[in-house]
Symmetry: C2
Subunit: 596 residues, 2 copies
């Protein structure tokens, strides 16, 4: 099947004189998750992972993906004729290195220009130029062979109420225009769906779990345009737009419109986020300010309303998770519970809340050695029965009308070895220490990651993912620009943490073939105090679910770690006890939050 598809594609490539065709996992907005319509890479290769790039040529095809997906891709590509290139492994060429080696003079490398960023295109262009080859932006070739392709999603949108957004689009535009003025920008080009969702206070379902709608946006000093698919326009939207002096235009019109709009203007457009096709329409602009968008920065700083709602969403979510944990702990080993069943059960507890909408990402419920695969997702072939021993790791989250949650708990389903407990305790120490920090204004996540990792490093242990990602409000669960990670990316922008930012705190420990541990809370950055030594910030922990006392080895903790844990458990008890439904749940929570 895959072979047939690739052969059909190769015929189209031949007609169009394309030697190499590149198929990334992207939509025109650089979204982390893409709608069904944009799953061309999956259609062409059969690999279903959320990250990877395919390259097709007459004699072969390749797929590049990172360590999270090596096992899955190995299995899914078997017999497809697609060669797997395991990114990050020694002696495996990167896509760029492969092209540098194989592109010949006079050949043509092509990609749908709307599916790669201007930044990536520039890199490919340099490689092609060095070999005397050509990089071409073409239409989406998959269109011609994918006969039963789903339609592009065009779900209804919702306009957020002031109680939900906290700030009107008008107020937000005022701030953004001030930032534009400071930079001398006449026009701001927005193509990231979360930025558009935030600025225009709209939510959608085109990227389902992220609550985002397909859209583009343009902000000028005196006008603003929201490009949305015409078939989802409605009276309420048009009335809102008229009232707020916002033009609404058809989604695809931006490609006809932008060049004229940009002419003679100083345009703010981030090459890493704007797609290549769109970026090339800026040629008549007077200049391009290639910096992180002011919307991304403003969006990351939650306003008072958003903070208040966030807290409420987390209380509701914590109630569901605590009740689920009680159920799990009291039922495991007594009835047949598999990973998938556990995930369903947790989802049921969440659905008891009226304001619960849907999961905020694909849940990870991983037992035993499955949990050592960082992005494990149980399917019918891998789903396994939970036994009353060892660890179960659950990384899940919900979208509530009040906001977005993301929580990981790893719990003991029965007896643990001392080594397992030590691992759990060191991860817990990292989680508590990061959340327990006080730090001066100006610090970035690169300065703070040490707190989450030093208890592991001390023993030669570590984990190979970031410690913290930003979390969107009632939208995508991963947002920038803030992050907690120690490694500085060359040329990357260092983001100082600002009061109002929400970030995850999720250290872990993964032993291949044995088990995985991750403990994740969401943190809200807040002002702590101003002293003669400056302005100090600290974290408020939004997530309110106990850690597992059965997995803790108190003797390796410091006094302060114990105090931080007890303080956290005391807060959880106080806030969550009223939300338990049965006496048994209450009793369990009381026991789970006893001081160490």
């Amino acid at each position: 099947m895959i072979k047939d598809r690739l052969d059909s594609l190769r015929r189209v490539m031949k007609e169009k004189k394309i030697d190499y065709y590149l198929v990334p996992t992207e939509d025109p907005h650089g979204s982390e998750y893409v709608g069904e319509y944009y799953k061309c890479r999956e259609y062409l290769t059969g690999f279903t992972g959320s990250a990877g790039t395919a390259l097709i040529w007459q004699e072969g095809a390749g797929l590049w993906t990172d360590a999270r997906y090596h096992i899955q891709a190995d299995r899914q590509l078997c017999g497809s004729g697609v060669t797997l290139f395991k990114e990050g492994e020694e002696k495996v060429p990167s896509l760029y290195q492969f092209l540098e080696k194989n592109l010949q003079e006079g050949q043509c490398l092509a990609a749908d220009g709307s599916l790669i960023s201007a930044e990536a295109a520039q890199r490919l262009q340099e490689i092609a130029a060095a070999k005397g080859a050509l990089l071409k932006s073409c239409d989406d070739l998959t269109k011609e062979i994918w006969t039963d392709r789903p339609d592009r999603s065009a779900e209804a949108i919702t306009l957020l109420s002031p109680e939900s957004s906290g700030k009107s689009t008008g107020e937000k535009l005022t701030v953004i225009r001030r930032r534009m003025e400071e930079k001398g920008a006449d026009l701001l080009l927005l193509s990231s769906l979360d930025e558009i969702g935030w600025l225009f206070n709209i939510r959608g379902k085109d990227i389902p779990m992220s609550l985002l709608a397909l859209a583009y946006g343009v902000v000028e000093r005196e006008s603003a345009v929201l490009y949305l698919q015409k078939r989802i326009w409605n009276e309420q939207l048009l009335a809102w737009a008229a009232k707020n002096q916002i033009e609404v235009d058809d989604y695809d019109m931006i490609y006809l419109d932008l060049s004229r709009r940009a002419q003679g203007k100083r345009v703010w457009a981030d090459r890493e986020r704007v797609n290549w096709k769109l970026f090339t329409l800026l040629q008549k602009a007077e200049g391009v300010i290639d910096e992180i968008s002011p919307v991304e920065m403003e969006k990351a700083i939650k306003n008072e309303t958003e903070q208040k709602n966030f807290r409420r969403a987390h209380e509701k979510d914590a109630a569901a998770v605590i009740r689920f944990l009680f159920w799990l702990k009291t039922h495991v080993g007594k009835e047949d519970i598999t990973e998938i069943r556990a995930a369903q059960k947790l989802e049921e507890f969440r659905r008891e809340w009226d304001s619960y909408l849907l999961p905020s990402f694909e849940p990870i419920v991983a037992y035993g050695e499955h949990a050592a695969i960082v992005h494990y997702s149980a399917d019918t072939s891998s789903d396994c029965l939970l036994r009353p021993e060892g660890f179960l790791l659950m990384d899940t989250g919900g979208q509530y009308r009040e906001g977005t949650t993301d929580i990981t708990r790893t719990v003991a389903l029965g007896p643990l070895t001392r080594r397992q407990k030590e691992g759990y305790t060191r991860v817990l120490m990292g989680n508590l220490r990061l959340a327990g920090l006080t730090f001066p204004y100006g610090c970035s996540g690169e300065n703070l990651d040490l707190a989450a990792r030093s208890a592991l490093w001390e023993e030669g242990l570590d984990f190979f993912h970031g410690t913290g990602h930003g979390v969107g409000y009632l939208m995508n669960v991963h947002e920038g620009p803030q992050a907690i990670r120690w490694r500085h990316r060359k040329g990357s922008f260092v983001t100082a943490l600002e009061p109002g930012m929400v970030i995850s705190d999720e250290p872990g420990l993964y032993l291949e073939g044995e088990y995985g541990i991750r403990l994740e809370n969401l943190l809200l950055c807040r002002e702590k105090e101003k002293t003669s030594f400056g302005r100090f910030l600290a974290w408020e922990v939004l997530t309110l679910v106990p850690f597992d006392r059965e997995a803790i080895l108190p003797e390796i903790m410091e006094k302060r770690d114990v105090r931080l844990l007890n303080d956290y458990h005391s807060t959880v008890r106080r806030k969550m006890l009223p939300l338990m439904k049965t006496k048994a749940e209450k009793d369990w929570l009381l026991e789970a939050t006893e001081p160490l």
Copy 2:
């Protein structure tokens, strides 16, 4: 007197049609401390601090200096007609802002081009250009009015033996040429005196406490030139040079020579370190690689011989400091000891070692509130009597034939308040925690500073200097590129810590008008272990002097802090007891290193 000097200078400026004359605190090598000959800024303004820039114009004169020197500059500039601009204070314009505001179209701003870096010149040029003014490189105008100016220093140099350097110049050149090849550089221009001292294994006394000689260096693929003042050439030097295929030329010849040498070559020259006059001689080069010099990086990584010698130097230095501390603790309040007398006494203990050469920097011995001035230096007007109460801070170091030391101890001279003890203990916790870290290869000082500061931040306390600077081997006590500091400087290069680097660990706490605390050890970066999670590094503490148990509040320390302190004291006891000279000293050291 100052007024007369400035008026004479203004006459020269008028003749030369110079409207603003800039006088930095620099020599042509960007040295941190400069020889007497280069103290033009001091001659013209009367301000003796080690950092600051003067600007002179017909109607006035200004001096810009940082917070370390505000009090001193205030006093020294009083009545001189020179306006003090306190850098870092609100509403005080920086030098650049001042020029942006005051430079007029057609005016001429000038400076001795050999005394500002190419980087600084570019910035000034941009400011001048924006105002339609001109930046001009001129001769040193001070020459024409400073009649009793000392000669430029031309002290004899020493060639390091292999037992001292660990690596011959030939071996070092091989490594440097490999780096040049990797970057595609044909010629490497060296103007930092420590880089030249390291590469050619020479030491001098032109910058006395840093053991550096005035010199330039040029390395090409097949040749190397060392530019040294002709009057210090000797037979031994010329024989060594001939044997190592190094050309020796006269110091000033580089200005006549470089343009021809650079012609058509790809030249490696760091704009931040090479002076403007020299940099302009690269105009006929085929290209300039403006990156941190490979010598700076290689120099920072101490070889086995250097490490061994460093350890020995620190043992000798620790013996002197411990014996001094015993003397101080047993004599204070019983005889008249002032800050200066204490410094002399410590120097006497150091001088008992044959291999001791001289202090590695101007010692800071500061009692009580004096210690709150970070770069306090006692003079006859400020020198005060030590009383048997409160804190004495001593930041001193020595140059030994085996290497360079730098140590700060703050000790209780008698009773302390609880608040003083708490401050001392939090600074101590920072010192111990940084030194006690294990961290993966790839970490930079920006990742680690948290360990030194979090115990202070927790209480809204902080200190406003870096936590750690690199330390040169048998040369300047401050070296780059490694550093421990949390604040990322925009556009600055992030240096991963490498095994073999030596760095200081010196957290502090300063309460204006009350007291100051700083505790400094030097740390050597070493391989710790390789596990399945990667390669981990840790520190060896080179400095071997007990902390003051009388100043510690054990109840605010964590278990691990106590363990780190006891482990350190046990090492100090084991290594230093044999170097004590009297039974009383031995007994005191035993007591001082008792476990908490």
